[in-house]
């Protein structure tokens, strides 16, 4: 993405489940300072948080980039993890490949991608098994 977008970059640390979500917290704070509507900020931060958790669970972290233009906020999450074998299956509520120890931490219920779809205006998933996954979410702000 180029042009006049404001660009924020975050490294998502894949080795520390406790810190998962820190990028989303920062995005939430930044968007608040920029004066966006709380409902929009909530949708963005929940969707990005789910994505961050997924990156930590499945892909040992990755990169999070947020682009802000006057009418749209775009969140791009990129990892070099195992990739998603069957995206249609992964989009089904309740389908999960997360290990059991993740469920004991409160995640891995198979709601991550469905939640990201629910809260975003547009969700694009580009995934290659063995190479990685890039998720792009768009949120209209005007």
């Amino acid at each position: 993405m180029t042009g006049d977008a404001l660009h924020f970059h975050y490294d998502v640390d894949g080795n520390n489940f406790t810190s998962a979500g820190e990028a989303s917290v920062q995005v939430k704070r930044t968007l608040r300072q920029m004066g966006y509507h709380p409902d929009l900020i909530r949708r963005i931060s929940v969707a990005m948080y789910e994505g961050e958790i997924n990156m930590v669970i499945h892909a040992k972290g990755g990169d999070a980039d947020v682009y802000v233009t006057p009418d749209c906020i775009t969140v791009i999450l990129k990892d070099v993890g195992p990739g998603i074998k069957d995206i249609n299956l992964a989009m089904q509520e309740g389908y999960s490949t997360a290990p059991d120890n993740i469920r004991s931490l409160g995640f891995g219920a198979g709601m991550g991608l469905p939640n990201m779809k629910r809260y975003s205006d547009e969700l694009k998933i580009d995934s290659v098994v063995g190479v990685g996954t890039t998720i792009e979410m768009k949120f209209k702000s005007a």
Binding site: F17, T18, S24, S45, V46, E50, G106, A109, N115
Partner: protein, 112 residues
């Protein structure tokens, strides 16, 4: 229902700024599964959970929830307390099960 009344109804220990006790909260959601909270708890102020890790605070924070009630007699870790305080989220601990705490709060009018 005010924070004070919530605490009284479930005999909770409260970690909060005393100035907030008369603040009115609406709506609650109970789950140990944070993914479900993220899916179903939008526009509710109170999270009841038996899960004990810092992600309960992050989940509540993402949804703009104001209060976390830790059920089943569990004690918040120092990390949870610190994170909650940093994000202005009221923390409570009750000996009650999630079922009983939810029942008492619902009966009192929270979320209905």
């Amino acid at each position: 229902m005010t924070i004070r009344e919530i605490a009284e109804r479930i005999n909770a220990v409260v970690y909060a700024d005393p100035d907030r006790l008369d603040e009115d909260l609406t709506g609650a959601f109970g789950s140990d599964m944070m993914s479900d909270v993220l899916a179903f708890a939008e526009n509710r102020d109170v999270l009841l959970t038996g899960l004990l890790n810092p992600q309960i605070v992050r989940t509540a924070h993402m949804l703009d929830m104001q209060c976390i009630i830790i059920v089943r007699g569990k004690t918040a870790t120092p990390e949870i307390k610190t994170l909650a305080a940093q994000n202005d989220i009221v923390l409570m601990e009750t000996q009650m099960t999630m079922y009983e705490a939810s029942g008492r709060l619902y009966e009192g009018g929270l979320g209905r």
